[in-house]
């Protein structure tokens, strides 16, 4: 058979048809079939061209963007958070560099993750479950896909992480604030901890220790609930945010702006080159200048300790809590807000374990040091409320300045539902007293009379005045968690109580209210605002802790103007009388706190209070000691309110504590008050 050329023998054999006339039939037309195939080819090529046109010409730019999404990873560079300083620039909260241990899943060999987590947890002295949780929490946001039900679901499972199906380039921080020793231990054994990396980051530090712990708040990873809050609008999962206190309120200023490093990676998330392709440098957070004065704040906290030890000395061994507020009477600047007991806010740094949290904050024995009693605890305010009676009485014309009531040690209302007799704190009685003397000596019977007159009056004018002067609603301070307190009215009683008897507003209710008892409840801050209004001529200020925002160069970025003070019309004569009473209470020989302030270096005006508060654990009433005051009496600048839980008498415990604060305010050194004090309320 020739290689080149045609085989002459090769012919398609004839096709037998059995028909003589046409022994050979026409073969089917190859040309027709070729034409059909060609047509099919045209259609198929057309489809491919059309599709290419759609993908490349019409949607090309979208796909370029998606290709860039594929190859560019953004790694967050956390911005250092701003400091919180007092009004003089004294640092209250700052950053310190810390060491964090993290895990880069990419670098953990397949099948070794579980074992490595257990060993790492042992070194870091934490539970493996917490490391697992950190990893899962970190990966979850990036593993969301749209389900058939139109909702976003995460396809993240622990098994997928273990099997290296889901992995990542980022270093997932599993433990912050790790000691130098632990870090060097890990570094020495780097080979047996593949993927473990140490990062330098910033941690909160508190140079003043426990000072102002309840006001500051702390930092935590933003939670799913917080992401939905209006306050955190625009934040994203994985952000570290301020929780509670000033850290939360001023988070937007403090946090700065995180930087971004854009890194080109391949399909296995391995960086292609070490230099970022682009990105943005982090902008450090601004400094928050607060209205606090560290010296005053420290004094206020010391004052509480003093007050409590005085109470203990006085036999009130149960006294174990308290709060003090120092306001600038003119504008509502909070110079100090102290709470007892307190704690070291450093416990939050690097995350607090469930166990430690419970031991510190939930266990009853510690008396809840996290509680910002100054704005969260509402209690009866006792005799300090009498200034409200006085203002309301004079303004409503219920009493006159010269009208006197006789006190024989007890009071029985002219019309009463029962036979209750209301006693004065001085069972011997005060004799005949007009308003100023009644305030000075804190005569209960005088104010019982006033209270009864208000009971007879139309409406609830006394309650209206209490509310007007700042009670019964939050003051609007710029940290969250503030309690509204309560000013009891007949309407409130109707709503609050179930039984028909309790729903009724009785003369006794008005009489109790007049001495700040019964159902009246206010926070120390509210009381401070009320006294500030008396001191400044009727302006109800909005207390605030934020003063201004300052950038790194010290330039003011923004003045934090609080809401404008609300002006309450009080006749000057009324204010004058009340102030006289308060001054004499602290200075005249018969005054309830004169033993503390009569010979003091600055004229102080103040009212003691001894509030009977129901204590469920004892099924009885215990005395809460109050002192509400301002100074200098003739040109009031500072308002000081002190409350000592279960501390006994205001004059014995709270007023001396207040003097510790005034010492700091006026740079005085009056020494500790040790003399046995008068048994007044």
């Amino acid at each position: 058979m020739p290689l080149l050329g045609n085989d002459p023998a090769r012919r398609d054999r004839p096709i037998r048809t059995g028909r003589r006339d046409r022994p050979i039939i026409q073969l089917p037309s190859v040309a027709l079939r070729v034409a059909l195939v060609a047509a099919l080819a045209v259609v198929l090529f057309g489809v491919v061209f059309f599709r290419l046109w759609f993908l490349q010409i019409l949607s090309g730019q979208d796909f370029v963007a998606r290709a860039n999404d594929n190859r560019l990873r953004e790694v967050k560079i956390v911005a250092p958070r701003g400091n919180i300083v007092d009004r003089r620039g004294e640092v209250i909260v700052e950053n310190r560099p810390g060491l964090a241990v993290g895990l880069r899943l990419m670098d953990v060999p397949e099948g070794r993750l579980e074992d490595e987590i257990v060993r790492l947890a042992r070194v870091l002295k934490m539970r493996p479950a917490r490391i697992r949780k950190a990893i899962m929490d970190h990966l979850r946001p990036s593993t969301m896909e749209l389900g058939d039900d139109g909702e976003w679901h995460s396809y993240l499972t622990w098994d997928a992480v273990l099997e290296h199906e889901i992995t990542g380039l980022d270093v997932i921080i599993v433990r912050e604030d790790v000691s130098e020793r632990t870090v060097s231990y890990l570094k020495e054994r780097a080979l047996s901890f593949p993927g473990v990396e140490v990062r330098q980051n910033y941690l909160r530090a508190y140079p003043h220790g426990t000072m102002a712990a309840q006001l500051l708040g702390h930092l935590a990873d933003i939670s799913a609930e917080q992401l939905r809050e209006k306050h955190f609008k625009g934040y994203s999962a994985g952000d570290v945010v301020g929780v509670e206190g000033l850290e939360k309120t001023y988070d937007r200023w403090l946090r700065g702006r995180d930087g971004v490093a854009r890194i080109e990676v391949d399909a296995f998330s391995r960086p292609k080159q070490s230099d970022p392709v682009g990105g943005r440098l982090p902008e450090p957070g601004h400094t928050l200048v607060t209205t606090l004065d560290a010296k005053v704040q420290e004094a206020a906290e010391r004052a509480l300790r003093t007050g409590i030890s005085l109470a203990h000395r006085d036999g009130k061994v149960e006294a174990n809590g308290g709060a003090a507020v120092v306001l600038d009477a003119r504008n509502g600047d909070v110079l100090a807000m102290a709470n007892y007991p307190t704690y070291d806010p450093g416990v939050w740094v690097g995350g607090i374990s469930e166990k430690k949290y419970r031991r510190l904050f939930v266990q009853k024995g510690n008396n809840y040091p996290q509680l910002n009693r100054a704005i969260m605890e509402t209690k009866a305010v006792g005799s300090t409320f009498k200034v409200v009676d006085a203002v309301a009485g004079l303004e409503e014309g219920v009493i006159s300045p010269v009208e006197a009531f006789f006190c024989n040690g007890s009071y029985k209302p002219p019309v009463a539902t029962d036979k209750t007799v209301f006693g004065c704190w001085s069972s011997a009685g005060h004799g005949s007293l007009s308003l100023v003397d009644a305030i000075t000596q804190s005569c209960d019977v005088y104010f019982y009379n006033v209270g009864y007159r208000f009971y007879a009056a139309k409406g609830s004018p006394l309650q209206e005045w209490a509310k007007r002067l700042g009670m019964g609603r939050p003051t609007g301070i710029d940290i969250e968690g503030e309690a509204a307190g309560r000013v009891p009215t007949p309407e409130w009683r109707q709503k609050y109580f179930r039984s028909e008897v309790d729903k009724l507003w009785t003369p006794g209710n008005s009489i109790n209210l007049s001495i700040g008892q019964g159902d009246l409840e206010a926070t120390p801050l509210q009381l401070a605002v009320t006294y500030a209004a008396i001191a400044n001529g009727g302006r109800v200020v909005t207390p605030h802790l934020g003063l201004r925002i300052v950038d790194a160069a010290g330039q003011t970025v923004r003045d934090l103007h609080p809401a404008k003070a609300r002006k309450v019309d009080i006749a000057p004569s009324t204010l004058d009388l009340v102030r006289q009473g308060l001054y004499k209470a602290a200075n005249s020989p018969t005054g309830t706190s004169a033993h503390v302030f009569a010979l003091y270096g600055q004229p102080v005006a103040g009212k003691t209070g001894t509030a009977e508060v129901y204590d469920a654990t004892r099924s009885g009433y215990v005395d809460y000691a109050w002192y509400a005051s301002y100074a200098p009496a003739h040109d009031p600048r500072y308002v000081v309110v002190v409350m000592i839980e279960k501390g006994g008498h205001g004059g014995t415990v709270a007023a001396p504590a207040a003097r510790v604060i005034y010492d700091a305010l006026f740079h005085l050194h009056s020494g500790e008050l040790t003399t046995g004090s008068a048994r007044t309320d």
Binding site: I15, V37, F63, R66, A67, N70, D266
Partner: protein, 382 residues
């Protein structure tokens, strides 16, 4: 007897140019797709491909010189060889990614399914052209389908669904050019549809699951690749991103989908996505036009052929290329299932390259014989 002069004069140069352009284009693209795959060895895949091309070129020249009448005489030997190869790969083959598709020959790897395609084309074409007098008989159609189905079944078991589909498509094409009546195709279509319905709807109701759900999902993932973004849909999505981001004129060296490995199998099954990303719509269109030219020339040769064997062979080659090109490009642009069918002359893969170059040699042989036949075209009936 025609000499070298005739040989050179009657070659189909358009076909040769189209093939050369496709092979050159493909090799360039394999270079760009793989130059970063093995550090320090940018040419490792290109070298392999060039060796295969050299072997293929020599084989093609030889095939073009031989009268294809030769294969008719050894058709059964070729058929048995084809079946033997696809059977032998199952016990002796090398398992890669769960599939046994290659036999390791020491120096290189050999893909029996690609070689079997060539042998089956030769033997089935011969079988059919020997039976022109039985045209219209059902048993011819049946027998050819069974002959194709046997190797196709073993290829399917490798598993290599794509290659078995190509074999069946080749058999149907050859029946088509043989002249099988339309009624047979209609009956086959009806049979296919009803078998599909039975396997998918009726048998599951009877508690017998022939096709598992995940297999179906994988087959139809191209309809909605986003639904399985991580699993079966991943390749399709990444491929479409690569193709789409090429836009009009391509991304050139900025073709990150390929170079950063987002696109899997970028030098084999998804080479068209590499072309589209690098060279854009323009580059993809040029490639498709080259294929169109190739198919045109092959079909032209089918018409010109000296005899029915030549027509059936040429037609078979034309449609096989059309089928592979459409299914392969369709898969990278999300309009066809991901089946692992390579792009002829372009995808990396030695056996496939050699087989298709031999197809070109065969087309040239048919062309040559048609031009130099003593009585010109001698097909029966003229």
């Amino acid at each position: 007897m025609p000499g070298w002069r005739d040989y050179l004069r009657h070659l189909d140069y358009v076909l040769l140019l189209a093939t050369g352009a496709l092979v050159g284009y493909g090799t360039t693209m394999i270079y760009f797709a793989t130059r970063n795959d093995v550090a320090g060895e940018p040419l490792v895949y290109v070298r392999q491909q060039l060796i295969a091309m050299s072997v293929g070129l020599v084989a093609a020249v030889i095939v073009s010189l031989l009268d294809y009448e030769l294969y008719r005489r050894v058709q059964w030997l070729l058929y048995v060889l084809a079946v033997f190869m696809v059977v032998a790969v199952l016990p002796f083959g090398e398992e890669v990614n769960g599939a046994t598709r290659w036999i390791d020959l020491g120096v290189t790897r050999f893909q029996p399914s690609a070689a079997a395609l060539l042998l089956l084309a030769l033997s089935l074409g011969a079988f059919l052209s020997d039976r022109m007098e039985l045209l219209g008989c059902k048993r011819v159609t049946f027998f050819v389908l069974v002959m194709a189905a046997v190797p196709a079944f073993f290829v399917y078991r490798e598993p290599d669904f794509g290659s078995s589909m190509v074999i069946m498509a080749l058999a149907l094409t050859m029946l088509f050019f043989y002249g099988t009546p339309w009624t047979h195709f209609a009956a086959l279509a009806a049979l296919g549809v009803s078998a599909f319905v039975v396997a998918l709807k009726v048998l599951p109701l009877a508690g017998l699951e022939v096709i598992k759900q995940y297999q179906l999902d994988r087959l139809f993932v191209f309809v909605n690749p986003g639904a399985q973004a991580r699993a079966a849909g991943y390749n399709v999505i990444q491929s479409m991103i690569a193709v789409g981001s090429g836009a009009f004129s391509g991304r050139g060296d900025q073709a990150t989908q390929t170079t950063l490995h987002f696109l899997p199998e970028h030098h084999t099954d998804f080479i068209f996505a590499v072309v589209s990303e690098r060279s854009g719509f323009v580059g993809a269109a040029i490639l498709l036009v080259l294929y169109a030219v190739f198919i045109w020339r092959a079909l032209r040769i089918a018409v010109l052929a000296r005899d029915m064997y030549g027509s059936i062979l040429a037609g078979g080659v034309a449609v096989t290329v059309l089928f592979e090109v459409f299914v392969n490009t369709g898969m990278t642009i999300g309009i066809m299932p991901v089946t692992g069918i390579p792009l002829p002359f372009v995808s990396y893969g030695g056996t496939h390259m050699i087989a298709f170059l031999v197809f070109v040699g065969l087309l040239e042989a048919i062309h040559l014989r048609a031009r130099t036949a003593p009585e010109g075209r001698t097909r029966l009936g003229r």
